[in-house]
Structures are given as structure tokens and as C-alpha cells.
Symmetry: C2
Subunit: 394 residues, 2 copies
């Protein structure tokens, strides 16, 4: 019999009075997370099963097939990474980049910079082309950079969450392949909400997240890779310098071998399975239409209120709108007011847009006309006093 006097040797200095979790109700109309569909939350709360349970193995296959539909791809290697969107972002780079590879990034917002930072950590020769935050790249600009730099990988962001720009994609993949280069695409704020065609656009590596267009809480990072990208990886000289995100190991678990890699986040996978099922039930085209219609309702409403949209109409992203903070208004004080008084979250600006724009998200479950009307009504009723306060203070 063991000595059961353990209580006497435990240090209680970090103990504190901690009551049952109670969380506030929030309407999340910022850059993400968005609210989760109630059906997805129900799935999250199912008792876990083992990560090698035959039931779970079947569920993994469903998730992969539904992800292929959502991304419009036949890629074999399509799976959710067991981390957030940033982990999936790093997975695309960790697997595809070898030391010394030229990695060209088109930077037009915060997440382009993140791609560059990550690629440097994997010893890529990182070169970049840049545009002001709020603009997109033309095919000519991209081809000139491909010719000049001869990169092994060209990386860009489809839907820039920091600026609200949707990069037109037609022709970019063809250019990359013509110049013997892989196309790596960030689809974090487009998957499920904006027309997106991995195969038709010749995208070789892509990643996304669970908490935006898919209406699931954050925690999984959808990942996909073309056979061309697989080919590059199969020729690597050494192991992928990241064990957790190594697709050659992950493929043995997600593929037919079912070799244990890590203990899968089973409940998060219950959740994403439901979110993808709901998307497939609505239909991808219908979901894209809904996001577009609600975004247009928001855009015209904001303009009716005299607010200025940061992005020109043709480049606007239906899932995320950047609206300029009116002269003299303390943008941060206003978002805090909306959160504290009404439980509504909208986002502030990042990087070069910090203090200049608000970011309003209409993603997945939250892309609804009543949410559009609610935020428009609040802007109409609450913003004037914030303008006046400033006027009085001045």
C-alpha cells in the first residue's frame, strides 16, 4: 500500500477561488473567430472516442472528403492540421521549403509579412513584392517578379483579413507553373465564404482555419497539397524540420496505413465534420451567394451612413469589410463600447491600418441579414455621440 499522505506535500500557493465557467454571449462580427453554428457546438460536446477507433477512422475520411468539396480539389493530401490556421500556414512552408529555396511573397497586408517571417525560419531565401494595404496585385506585376526572382515557391494571400481585399486569382497559378514554381495560397478568410477553386486555379499548397467561413470554433487548420507539391517534397534531402507538421508522417495516419502519429483532437474534428456537413447541405454556391448578398447589404448601409469603405468595390472581400474610422473618433473606445454595452465584437486595424479602420466580419453562421442590420443600426445610433465627444473635447 502506497503512502497516501499526498495532501501534506502539495503546495497550495497557486490555488484560488474559481467558480464554474460562465461565458458572456457575444455576437462576433470581427475578423474571427465568428460564432459557431449551434449544431457544431453540440458535436464538440460529444464524449470523445479513441483516435484509432474504427468510428473515428471513418469520420476522418468524411472530413477529408468534405474538405475536398469545400476547397474544390481532388488533392489526396487534404486534411485538418491539429492546430489553428497559423499551424496549417506553417505546415505549408515547413514541408515545401528547403534551405536556400527562393520564396517569393506578395505582401499587401499583415499576413503576407507573417508568411515571410515563417519562410525565413525555414532558411528560405525570402524575396518580396509589396503593395499598399488595401490593394491587390496584377498578373503583370506577378509575372515580372517571377521572371526576376525565379522562385521555387510563390506565396500570397487570397483574402487578406487585415485589409479586406480579395485578390483576383485567375491566371496566377498558370503563371507560376509556366515559371516552374509552386503556388502557395492563404485561404483563411475565403474558405466557405468566397468563390475558391484550388484545382481550377492551379494552387499547389493552401491552408485555412475552422473559425471563419466554416462556423466552427478555432482549433483546426485545413491543409491541402497538390501532386506537384508532393513531388517537390518527395525529393527533399533531409527530414522536414518540424515533426508535428510533417505531412509524410501525417499521411501515414490520415492515409490507409493509420499509423499513430499524435493523439488527434477528436472533439474538434467532431466539430469540423459538422460544420462541413452543414456547408455541404447548404451547397457551396449558395453559401458564397449568401456571403455576397449580406456583404453588399452591409456595404450599401455603411455608405448610406456616410462611412467610407477602405477597399474599392471590385476588390472587396465579402467575408471581411474594412471601413474607415471617421475623423476624430477614437476607434478603440467605440469597439470597446459595442462589446461592453451590446456584446458585439468588431475588429480594429492591424499594422499600417491600426487606428484607421474597423474590420467587420460576416462569416459562416454569422453572415445573416439580421446581423447586418444590427451593426448598421448600432453604428447609426451610437457613433454620433462618439463624434460629439471628440468635438466637445476639441
Amino acid at each position: 500500500m502506497a503512502n497516501l499522505k499526498n495532501n501534506q506535500i502539495v503546495d497550495d500557493s497557486h490555488l484560488f477561488k474559481c467558480s464554474v465557467l460562465s461565458t458572456p454571449e457575444r455576437l462576433l462580427l470581427g475578423p474571427g473567430p465568428s460564432n459557431a453554428d449551434p449544431d457544431v457546438l453540440k458535436a464538440l460536446a460529444r464524449p470523445p472516442v479513441g483516435h484509432l477507433d474504427p468510428f473515428y477512422i471513418d469520420l476522418m475520411g468524411e472530413v477529408q472528403q468534405l474538405l475536398r468539396y469545400a476547397w474544390q480539389t481532388n488533392n489526396r493530401l487534404t486534411l485538418p492540421m491539429s492546430g489553428t490556421g497559423s499551424a496549417a500556414m506553417e505546415a505549408t512552408i515547413a514541408n515545401s521549403v528547403e534551405a536556400g529555396d527562393t520564396f517569393l511573397v506578395a505582401i499587401k497586408g499583415y499576413f503576407g509579412h507573417r508568411l515571410a517571417d515563417m519562410a525565413e525560419r525555414y532558411q528560405a531565401n525570402v524575396v518580396s513584392i509589396e503593395k499598399p494595404w488595401g490593394e491587390a496585385f496584377s498578373l503583370e506585376e506577378i509575372e515580372a517578379a517571377l521572371i526576376k526572382n525565379k522562385p521555387a515557391i510563390f506565396a500570397m494571400v487570397h483574402a487578406e483579413t487585415s485589409t479586406g481585399v480579395c485578390q483576383p486569382m485567375e491566371g496566377i497559378g498558370e503563371l507560376c507553373h509556366k515559371h516552374n514554381c509552386l503556388l502557395l495560397l492563404d485561404t483563411v478568410t475565403s474558405l466557405g465564404g468566397v468563390p475558391l477553386f484550388i484545382d481550377k486555379w492551379n494552387v499547389d499548397l493552401a491552408y485555412s482555419c475552422s473559425q471563419k467561413g466554416l462556423s466552427c470554433p478555432p482549433g483546426l487548420g485545413p491543409f491541402t497539397m497538390s501532386s506537384l507539391a508532393e513531388e517537390k517534397i518527395s525529393k527533399r534531402k533531409g527530414k522536414v524540420p518540424n515533426w508535428y507538421l510533417d505531412v509524410s508522417l501525417l499521411n501515414k495516419y490520415w492515409g490507409s496505413d493509420r499509423v499513430y502519429h499524435h493523439t488527434a483532437p477528436v472533439n474538434m474534428n467532431f466539430g469540423i465534420r459538422e460544420s462541413l456537413r452543414l456547408l455541404s447541405q447548404e451547397g457551396l454556391g449558395a453559401a458564397w451567394d449568401r456571403h455576397r448578398l449580406n456583404a453588399e447589404r452591409l456595404w450599401s448601409g455603411l455608405e448610406r451612413l456616410g462611412l467610407e469603405l477602405h477597399v474599392e468595390p471590385d476588390l472587396r472581400l465579402p467575408t471581411l469589410t474594412t471601413v474607415r474610422i471617421p475623423e476624430g473618433v477614437d476607434g478603440k473606445a467605440f469597439t470597446l463600447h459595442l462589446l461592453e454595452k451590446y456584446g458585439i465584437e468588431i475588429g480594429g486595424g492591424l499594422g499600417s491600418l491600426a487606428g484607421k479602420v474597423w474590420r467587420i466580419g460576416l462569416m459562416g453562421y454569422n453572415s445573416k441579414s439580421e446581423n447586418v442590420d444590427r451593426i448598421l443600426n448600432l453604428l447609426e445610433s451610437e457613433l454620433p455621440s462618439f463624434r460629439q465627444n471628440v468635438a466637445f473635447a476639441a
Copy 2:
């Protein structure tokens, strides 16, 4: 008005008939995941909040403080990594190892090999000492290896999930510090279930998981780091070669700066907050006692049934028991029978113990006398026919 003919351009080839998720009831008595506490599942299903919401920032502080209690540490850098236990394992290595560092691993099971594989990917000079699976290391063996190899980091597994051995820890941290080396410890199968003292044992880097002693589903990887480890990291010549797991960036989000790093898996953090609250309410000493008592009930019951335990009594791990598969029994067929007929999961052997042992886990919420009795009764009633089948076949 945009062209809303999206349905006409969507490829439906990956669509399939997919009904609402329905999951089987499982009693998870394998190596993990274990069943989650129902209160934790309720927390998981709360609507998400933003990852910079003042409510969430407070919750992050609670999680950190409760983790310090569970790990018995004052370490400032104590937080759950946004991935599973294997991500937290990689975080300890990615941050602490610099290319060329000598990394000594004590291998006595599957997870020691994993530590070696990961450290190689970070360009460590990996050296190892090995013991048969089922044994532990002595202080003398460890000191001899420290003197011979002069490592910067000595890594070992406290509770080996693959063998059921609990490594005695007294004196190891002192030896490491005497020989100018950091101690890195895997506590995946000990946190919350087995006496564990990060500070008293002079552990410099440790990681764990959410789905075992903490009774939360898998998806988060608790991580902690001493000031000595922080000091080594502060002297790094270059950036940590892993963006997602870089503690210098994570510290800006989890520390007082609250700088955005990645979108936190908020619902998983709701869950781990509840699991840690439940542990603090029971009391760490009481939880350790409970695990020990139920394990002893299991051990004596198994011996009463004539089954042989793989590990000698002094080294047995209360959270995971390895029991030898009787001569002639098809171990895999028997575990599949338990799963399919009774919804009970127990584990098979890994690596050099594959086919030789079953692994029975009694972890967190599942460490209960009724679960012990249930598995003992099933072994008593079901195993004979598996022995007979073999006898008939022979």
C-alpha cells in the same frame, strides 16, 4: 450586384450523403484519450468569444494559474500550447535546442525515441542511453551519461505511456544542474494523476496533454519553462526555427502585452479551464491518492485473474498499466471484441511491446473503482473463450 450563379460552377463530385453526427458511447480505458468530465464537455460547447476579449484574457490568466498549481511550479512561462501534447513536446525542443547542442535522451520506451527524432530535426547532436522497455534509469546511470556526453539538455519521460513505468525523479534535476545541463521532462501521462513537482525536482522544461489526467478532450498541450531555460533561450543566436511554437512570440500574447500571435482555440481553453478547476476542487493530493488506490485495485485484480504485470511493483505507473497478453491469445482480436461488444477501449502494445502487452489506462475522470471492476469482470468472463479458441485452433 454580383453574379450569383455560383451554383452553376461548383463541382459536386466530392459531395456525399452525410447525416447529422452521431457518436458511439465509449469507456476509454486505453493509453488516452480518457473520457472527459461532463462539466468539461459542457464548457467546450459554450459559444466562442474573441481571443482578445477582456473576458478571455482573464480566463487565460486563470488557466495559467491553475496549471502552475497542477504542475507545482512558479514558472512564469506556463501555458497551454494550441496543439496536442506532441506539439508541446516539440515546443520544449524547438525553443531550447540550438544547432549543435548536445541533447542526451534517456530512452526506455516509444516516447524517448520520439524526443530523439524531434531533437535531430532541430539539428541537435543527439546522444542516447537506453534501457529495456519496462525498466527505469538509476541516478548512477544518468550521472555517468552526463559526465561522458556533457549535454546542454537531458531529456527523459516521467511516465512512459508505452511501458507503464514511472521513472523515480528524486535527485535527477540536481544532477543535471550540477553538470550544467537543463532537464526536459515528458509529463504527458503524469500531470494530474501522479505526484509531480516541477520546481522541487528542478525540471527546466516540461510538457503534457489535456486528455489524460486532466479529463479534457485532446487538443491542448500544457507547457512550462524555468527561468534557467528562459536564460538559455534569451541567448539564442537566431530566431526559434518554428513560428507557431515560438515562446518569445507566445509570451507577448500570454504575458501582459497581449499582442496577437494566433487565434487561440478558445473553446478548448474553456474546456481545460474547467478541467483544471475540477482538479483544484478535488485537490491535487486527493487526485493522486485516488489514481493510486484505483490502480492498486486493478493490479491486485489482474494478479488474482492469473495475469502478469509487465512492470515491477515499485516502478508501476498508476495512470497506465501494462499487462502481459497470455500465451496464445490474439491481443488485437480481444481488444476489438471489447470495443465492438462492450464499447470499452483498452490499448495494445507499441514498439518492442507490440503484441506482448495490453495497456489499461485509469486516468482523470475515468480513475474510478467501478471502471476497475468493469474491466476486471470482462477480463474474467471474456478472456477464457479467447484462450480456448486458440487451444482449439492449435
